[in-house]
């Protein structure tokens, strides 16, 4: 895909915080840095309240794609955007836009907070397209990060729409992103494989019907394991198209989504060992606290584990920054620190498996590689397996097994395993 041919102004940043600062400056929209903690949030929010008003006539895709969708479902988001240009839009127009961006109209009434990262980004594209006629341009953050490579074309389609309307497009990305042509193609260091046995016995998840405020039909998802062996090798990769159910599968393994029938777990002789998960939107897991505040609260009833987690956090940060080319400018309240802290807190408990859902989100390619490499190194020392859920092709060289999820029927997903 040749992005260089497109008239897109691409700005690449080393850190998420740098990207957010530029986004705020360029669009005038306040965007909080949640890893900075409560007091920083309230300080920045009150500063925003006292700001002077400026023109807002740009479509935006915010650093976290969920934040740009201010209404509860796709139907309301798209009709509201279309109605701004007096189109009197309804369900038909909204469905058409969704289909144009590779989404099924079934998600029209689905609550936005239950959509996957890729679906959220594609919905942002559909909304930006709806706004195209009445805005002056588009500012998009990490516009292809959440997408499987086959869906990158939708970003180009959106750029084409803005180009045809003679409106400028600004893309803010992190160093090493697909849109960043200046990046080096550095390879990640590899770690020794660790054997992990999964027990996937046709787990079925039922999603109940929603009657209020908008009706959304019930659905279900059945996973079937089609490999001969249960043994996979850590670090293993979980891949598949957008919306196939990777994050749901991770939540099943972590035991935070109820399974209606069947089983999804990890086989380990010591039943007390658990499966821990780092969400796609990991920043929410800090519960609006800074990394050190979080560690204090998470281990308020266990001083030994608090010390262990704090030590691991410091070690992770030290390892990542010692490899940084730009020198040690460590920020303990950054998104990188937030992720390192959440991983350290999970590793301290010595789980059987830790799952990292899109660990590279909000990080430059170099930082993401360092974070995952050192996480695997520390995890394997503790006999903890690591699973990475991602679309990013660079993990293929790093991972030792690949679990590929593929939809074989509307409500059935097949999981195949391949040794890498």
């Amino acid at each position: 895909m040749n992005y260089a041919e497109k008239k897109i102004n691409v700005f690449a940043f080393d850190t998420y915080e740098g990207l957010v600062d530029h986004f705020v400056q360029s669009t005038g929209i306040f965007f909080p840095k949640m890893a900075a903690g409560r007091s920083e949030f309230f300080r920045a929010f009150s500063q925003w309240l006292n700001r002077s008003t400026q023109s807002r006539s740009r479509a935006v895709i915010t650093p976290d794609p969920a934040q740009g969708l201010a209404l509860p479902n796709a139907l309301q988001i798209l009709t509201s955007a279309l109605n701004q240009s007096r189109k009197n839009a309804g369900t038909a127009e909204a469905s058409e836009l969704l289909e144009k961006y590779g989404l099924t109209p079934k998600i029209l009434t689905q609550p936005v907070n239950t959509l996957s990262g890729g679906e959220l980004l594609l919905l942002n594209f559909a909304k930006a397209e709806a706004q195209c006629s009445h805005v002056k341009g588009l500012a998009a953050c990490n516009p292809v990060f959440w997408l499987s490579p086959a869906r990158h074309k939708f970003w180009l389609n959106l750029c084409d729409s803005y180009e045809a309307a003679d409106k400028n497009v600004e893309a803010l990305v992190l160093r090493g992103d697909h849109l960043d042509s200046s990046s080096r193609s550095d390879k990640f260091s590899s770690v020794d494989a660790l054997s992990v046995n999964l027990l996937i016995d046709s787990p079925l998840v039922n999603f109940l019907e929603i009657q209020f405020p908008v009706f959304h039909a019930a659905s279900k998802l059945l996973y079937s394991w089609v490999s001969e062996t249960d043994e996979v090798f850590s670090p293993f990769l979980i891949t598949g198209d957008n919306g196939v159910g990777k994050s749901i599968f991770a939540r099943l393994l972590a035991g935070i989504l109820p399974i209606s029938s069947g089983r999804a777990a990890i086989m380990n002789p010591d039943d007390k060992r658990t499966v821990r998960l780092l969400f796609q939107e990991a920043i929410t897991q800090l519960f609006a606290m800074s990394p050190f505040e979080y560690l204090g609260k998470a281990f308020s009833a266990s001083i030994a584990l608090f010390n262990e987690a704090t030590g691991l956090f410091r070690e992770l940060m030290q390892s990542i920054y010692s490899d940084k080319l730009s020198g040690d400018t460590r920020n303990w309240n950054s998104l990188l620190a937030g992720k390192a802290c959440l991983i350290a807190a999970r590793l301290a408990e010595k789980p059987a498996l830790i799952l990292l859902d899109e660990p590279g989100w909000g990080l430059s390619r170099h930082d993401a590689g360092m974070l995952v490499f050192h996480t695997c190194r520390l995890a394997h020392q503790r006999e903890t397996g690591v699973g990475i859920i991602s679309h990013q092709p660079e993990w293929h060289d790093f991972a030792r097994s690949n679990l590929k999820l593929k939809k074989i029927a509307p409500e059935q997903v097949e999981i195949s395993h391949a040794r890498l």
């Binding site: 929209i29 209404l71 509201s80 907070n113 821990r276």
Partner: protein
């Protein structure tokens, strides 16, 4: 799984026009804003029942009435979700209220029977107000309101946009809680006990759990506030965009 569905005409969110919906919702919630309905029912029941029993029964009756009105709109599953949260809040409030009354009798000087009745009333009020207010707020569509405002001019437009923003923020609170609950479940699978509690052996059982609960409540309060506030700037931006698009289309604008 297909849940039982109530007829569409019983669902408050389907009522049109908006002012009729508003009037019906206010009428349903009237016993929560005013003491008159409760006093009237209590006096009516007082004619055939002992006086205290009438006063005891009136609040559960009103609560059941409000649940019954909300049930067709919400559906059984959603109502039970809301009631779970309402029960947790009601039990916490009344138990802490009772404990404070026991600990600080000088401040709460009054008749113990009246005090107990007041606590019971608070308990049932919370059970009714929680599902009622969420039904009220979510019965109106912000996008419909915004669509209507894009076609209007004049002094009501600005006020309407502010109302749309306020309504959306209230709706957003209901979306933040399930998100945090998922995070909490990953962190503390037993929900009411911390995942890591190695040091609890050395602490009195009377102190350790209440201490953890207080800490958790403060965590939840801050997280709910911050995550509710977090998308406000983007919402404001959208509202301002509508406002600006309206201004630019206005032929009278100088």
């Amino acid at each position: 799984m297909r849940a039982f569905e109530f007829p569409a005409f019983l669902k408050l969110q389907n009522l049109r026009p908006w002012w009729l919906k508003m009037a019906v919702l206010v009428l349903i919630g009237y016993p929560l804003f005013s003491n008159r309905p409760a006093a009237f029912i209590a006096s009516a029941m007082g004619q055939c029942l002992p006086e205290t029993l009438g006063a005891l029964l009136v609040w559960p009756l009103i609560t059941f009435f409000i649940w019954a009105c909300c049930l067709p709109s919400l559906g059984t599953a959603k109502l039970l979700d809301y009631l779970a949260a309402a029960y947790a809040m009601a039990v916490t409030t009344t138990l802490s209220g009772a404990a404070l009354r026991g600990l600080l009798p000088a401040i709460f000087l009054s008749d113990p029977v009246a005090d107990n009745l007041r606590l019971m009333r608070v308990y049932f009020n919370i059970l009714a107000v929680f599902p009622y207010s969420l039904t009220f707020v979510n019965s109106f569509s912000v996008s419909d309101l915004m669509a209507r405002l894009t076609k209007t001019r004049g002094k009501f437009r600005g006020a309407g946009l502010h109302l749309a923003l306020a309504l959306r923020i209230c709706q957003h609170v209901g979306e933040v809680i399930p998100k945090l609950l998922l995070v909490w479940r990953e962190e503390n699978p037993e929900l009411l006990l911390p995942r890591c509690r190695d040091d609890w052996q050395g602490i009195s059982p009377l102190a350790r759990w209440p201490m953890w609960v207080v800490l958790s409540i403060s965590q939840w309060i801050f997280a709910c506030i911050i995550l509710t506030f977090e998308p406000i700037p983007v919402m404001v931006n959208e509202i301002e965009q509508i406002d600006e698009s309206g201004d630019s289309d206005d032929p009278d604008k100088v």
